[in-house]
Symmetry: C2
Amino acid sequence: MLSTFLEEKLDPRVKRTRSLLEQSFMDVVAQKGFQSVSVQDITEKAGVNRATFYAHFPDKYALLDYSVRQGFRQELEKRTLNVCTFSMDNLRALIVTVCEFISNASSHCNPPSPQFESVMETQVKAQVQELIQNWIQKLGTDADPKIAATAASWAIYGLAQQWSHDRNRNRPSAEKFTDQILPLIAGNLSLAQRV
Amino acid sequence: MLSTFLEEKLDPRVKRTRSLLEQSFMDVVAQKGFQSVSVQDITEKAGVNRATFYAHFPDKYALLDYSVRQGFRQELEKRTLNVCTFSMDNLRALIVTVCEFISNASSHCNPPSPQFESVMETQVKAQVQELIQNWIQKLGTDADPKIAATAASWAIYGLAQQWSHDRNRNRPSAEKFTDQILPLIAGNLSLAQRV
DNA sequence: CCAAATCTGTTGGATAAGCAACACTGGAGC
DNA sequence: GCTCCAGTGTTGCTTATCCAACAGATTTGG
């Protein structure tokens, strides 16, 4: 369940403040790009005191981390991928989710920033890996969960990124692309032998 | 300017809480109607503590008052009617605003409640009267501002309410109706002699 | 280059919001 | 009638947020 339960029983004020900061952050990054955004911009738009910002995040990079992590987690929860077992359909849904998330996010930050992309990659890969590792462990096959999950998460992210960067006018849809690479990824899951 | 400046320099937390309660109130009233809505319903949906509710409003009737007052005030501000002088166009805009506000609001509360309608009438009439009185005073004519404003505000509200209750399939639009009654109301403003 | 302006983190004290508990009321169902 | 339950206001105490002020870093532009 991807440790979602950690932030369930939180003070309503805390939830509210973080949510306000996150939303404001998204908006203002979409306007000015990540680099040129200041903490003041964020807090001002959010209607939150600047001191309060620092009570939650050390700096804007930490908020970027948090926002990306939350954003992707919510996408997983929307499709209930955080509470399910392995199946081809779920794997397909996961890959499509990654494709669309990358595609939306990178078009959302103007100008695009290496910081932004790096955090995206780290956070998304980590969650995909955790999820897949969970799937494999519950299957109880003889595949090594850690190795298989690592390989799969890297492959998925790499392919999804390449797809999202593809500016070709007849780039396939996320679904079509996913169907194309699905066997390859599925192979990663079953072929990793325990050492 | 209709004493809008009173709530400009307010603690952000207060603004936030009231806004959350107001929004939640609107939503939940639209679902269940005013009578059957409880304070708990409102605070729960708003994510605000019940004790906090009572720190702002004595009961749900006070919140109804506040919401209607704020709602209508915002409509006036949208059209900058709160910071303008008298003109036929502004008077027309004011009447249209009242018509549309009543029409939207009453369709918004299911089932319709006499409490609701009564508060609507009180709050809207009071603000319309204040605004018109202000217009007349700045004109410096020999009309008695208080008398003229009272007559006009009552007439406007009464006509607007009648119009909004009209279920006839060829009921005129708010604009057409306003043009129809505009001379009558304008007469109220100039014909009230000072005693 | 320097100066002015802007942004960053951080602090102490004030204040709003949260929480759990309480006694009370009014209605629903037995 | 009665109990039971759900909602109402209220309270004392805890915690999060606000605010103004600060020194230092970074940027702007003359």
